[in-house]
């Protein structure tokens, strides 16, 4: 069992509360991603879990045992950093074997060899075991870093943007690989990123962080479809959810407290005689799809369209919103639960 539990963690740096009364449970075998912009407290949370920082208040439990105050080594967690930190002059084999050769461990060389080979096979790096780290591509180096974390089968993996230094294509394939390895091993991972696509594709559950506080925790689809606040709504999805004043859209039957309404770009449809008249102000081709920026009155919204639509910049069009997908928020940006009447 390697469940991680963070209870009411608080960490301040001077007057700033980097992590503010944060509680989170990562179940055994679960992949949880903390998502937030720079300064939201993601990395601090991860460092508190690892024992690289001590909290001002609160407690950390791993596998049901309280580890607050214990050193990272005593917690038996593996940390994967953003920058791969391999020993450049060691071979891939020796880099992977390094954690197993720690003096306290006293593993016979044969056992080390078979474990390293097992991990290398999983990472598809068997044929590179004798290469030096400096002869590897960026993607291979990051795979070895992840392998070095995997090799000693720790209780828990803590990962701080491990894919962010890779190029886009490599990130795409590593994302799929990492998720698969985690699933096959049943590994427990707390992972930190600012990239919403990475969070959505990797996570069993996402924790949305804002100013050191967790504002929502849930499965990617749950947060995407049912965000609790404007902030959470705009964290997931690209382009982000449109947030508009309701009076600009002339929608009947909204809850009286609705100060802002949210609609995803894919839930706006073009055309319709009764639609709102707008002007195409921008048009971005993304290949499989395109994004049009529509201006109407003093407002703007984005629409996600498939690539078969023929539009010109400056063109007049009409649009309608998919009523069932509209989300209402109050003046504080909090979700209003009662959905608009059908």
């Amino acid at each position: 069992m390697s469940e991680l539990r963070l209870e009411n963690l608080r960490k301040t740096f001077g007057a700033i509360a980097a992590v503010d009364d944060l509680s989170l449970r990562v179940a055994d075998g679960e992949f949880v991603v903390l998502l937030g912009p720079t300064g939201a407290g993601k990395t601090t949370t991860l460092r508190l879990a690892a024992g690289l920082e001590n909290p001002d208040a609160g407690a950390v439990f791993i596998g049901g045992r309280e580890v607050t105050g214990l050193t990272p080594a005593e917690r038996d967690v593996a940390f994967v950093f953003q920058q791969y930190s391999l020993y450049p002059h060691y071979t891939v084999f020796d880099n992977l074997a390094f954690p197993l050769r720690a003096p306290g461990r006293k593993w016979p060389e044969e056992r080390i060899r078979s474990r390293v080979e097992e991990i290398a096979a999983m990472l598809d790096m068997e044929h590179k075991l004798q290469n030096r780290a400096t002869q590897l591509s960026g993607g291979e180096m990051q795979r070895v870093s992840i392998g070095r974390a995997l090799v000693r089968a720790p209780n828990l993996f803590l990962m701080d943007e491990p894919l962010s230094s890779l190029d886009a294509k490599l990130r795409e394939s590593m994302r799929v690989e990492l998720k698969r390895i985690q699933r096959d091993l049943g590994a427990t991972i707390l992972y930190v990123t600012h990239d919403q696509l990475e969070a959505m594709t990797l996570a069993d559950r996402i924790g949305i962080l804002e100013d050191g506080k967790l504002v929502q925790v849930g499965a990617p689809r749950e947060i995407y479809e049912n965000p609790v606040s404007v902030h959470a709504a705009r964290r997931l999805g690209s382009p982000p959810m449109n947030i508009l004043p309701p009076q600009a859209l002339g929608l009947p039957d909204l809850p009286p407290a609705a100060a802002q309404i949210g609609i995803r770009p894919e839930d706006v449809e073009l055309g319709g005689d009764s639609g709102i008249v707008a002007r195409v102000e921008s048009l971005e081709h993304l290949g499989a799809s395109m994004v049009a920026g529509l201006g109407f009155g003093n407002e703007r919204l984005h629409v996600l369209l498939d690539d078969s639509q023929r539009l010109r910049r400056g063109q007049q069009i009409t649009f309608t919103l998919n009523r069932e997908k509209i989300i209402c928020f109050d003046s504080q940006g909090r979700r209003i639960d009662a959905p608009p009447a059908a």
Binding site: T38, K169, V176, D195, Y224, S238, H285, G287
Partner: protein, 365 residues
């Protein structure tokens, strides 16, 4: 008003050919993006257009006038470097007016032009503020204002958004393009980011290893790539490539892939090589039990508006973009149907796309 013509441009640094015989034309008022990986020669080409670098061979025409050997300052072209460089001790107005003050333009004229630019960038309310306290978006707008106040015939941009974080880059991308539409000047924009190129450009010029591979509209390049490199470089996730049977006559409408026969656009030239390769984009493959290709689902990634499904087939690993409501499980066996109108066939010897019905009536030229 400016049309830029590049004819047979070459640039050598010692033995290294940074730019190889490049020719293209940038139309008046166009937003033209030069796209390629680092080292492909795009920045060198841009610097030659600006006059910051002299070509080894070839000509550059600005509105028909040969400017190949003209000094940068005399070309009436504005080069926009990293947008963030502002003078910290000057307020917004003085930052924007700086290039005009250097040219000793009259004060009344400077004031009028600064107001006009500020209006265009919607930063009129910031003119008397120090630049220190501005948000990063406003700083970027001020830097842009300083670049456009000279009213050059053309603006050249070298990866201006490269240093920004993702969220802000999306916003500035749209603003820059709208600014271009309002000013109407010719813009040449260099980037290695294919999403930036696709979303901003009227036309894209794809370069690799000093050569121009293709010039076309974003949709044209995306749907009708002329080489395997272009096909693979544009699009995220990337186009899928699968080995296929060669030896195809002109007029062929079917191709063999891993034992299956796939329909494809009619070939307008034969392929005598024994092997071929097909390319098909993730959104042009349908998951269907009766599909001609079969494979096992390796991963399903939910991305909000859609799902990305990675499927291992005997012919190789494929990515499929599916709707966000379809239920797909890992390790499930699925059938795959590529859209026959969307298949690109490549000659593996030179990685060129074969001419076919995909390229429309006029074909490949």
């Amino acid at each position: 008003m400016a049309e830029i013509t590049v004819q047979g441009l070459k640039k050598y640094f010692g033995d290294f050919a940074a730019v190889h015989d490049s020719s293209f034309r940038v139309h008046d008022g166009e937003f033209f993006v030069m796209l390629g990986p680092s080292g492909c020669g795009k920045t060198t080409t841009l610097r030659m257009i600006a006059g910051l670098e002299l070509p080894s061979e070839g000509r550059i025409l600005l509105d028909g006038e040969d400017v190949t050997w003209l000094r940068a300052a005399r070309r009436d072209i504005a080069f926009v470097f990293q947008l963030f460089a502002l003078y910290p001790h000057m307020n917004v107005r003085r930052n924007i007016s700086f290039p005009l003050r250097m040219e000793h333009v009259k004060r009344a004229e400077i004031r009028r032009r600064v107001d006009e630019v500020a209006d265009l960038l919607r930063i009129g309310h910031l003119l008397d503020k120090p630049v220190g306290g501005l948000s990063s978006g406003d700083r970027q707008r001020v830097a842009l204002g300083r670049a456009i106040i000279r009213r050059a015939k053309a603006f050249l941009f070298d990866e201006p958004l490269g240093a920004l974080d993702a969220e802000f880059r999306d916003l500035m991308r749209e603003e820059l393009r709208q600014l271009h539409d309002r000013i109407g000047a010719t813009s040449v924009y260099v980037t290695h980011d294919q999403i930036e190129a696709m979303s901003m450009a009227d036309r894209i010029c794809v370069m690799e290893r000093g050569k121009v591979l293709q010039v076309g509209t974003p949709m044209d390049i995306y749907n009708r790539p002329k080489t395997r490199f272009v096909a693979g470089f544009i699009g995220s996730p990337s186009m899928n490539f699968l080995p296929a049977g060669g030896g195809l006559p002109k007029g062929a409408e079917e191709i063999r892939v891993n034992g299956a026969r796939l329909k494809m656009p009619r070939l307008r030239e034969p392929l005598d090589a024994p092997e071929a390769e097909i390319g098909i984009r993730p959104e042009h493959i349908r998951l269907a039990q009766d599909g001609p290709l079969r494979g096992r689902v390796f991963a399903v990634e939910y991305t909000g508006a859609s799902q990305l499904v990675t499927v291992d087939t005997p012919a190789g690993r494929l990515k499929v973009r599916a709707g966000n409501t379809q239920r797909i499980d890992e390790d499930e066996t699925v059938g795959l149907t590529p859209d026959p109108r969307r298949i690109v066939v490549f000659d593996p010897r030179d990685e060129r796309a074969l001419d076919s019905g995909l390229f429309g009536e006029d074909g490949h030229e």
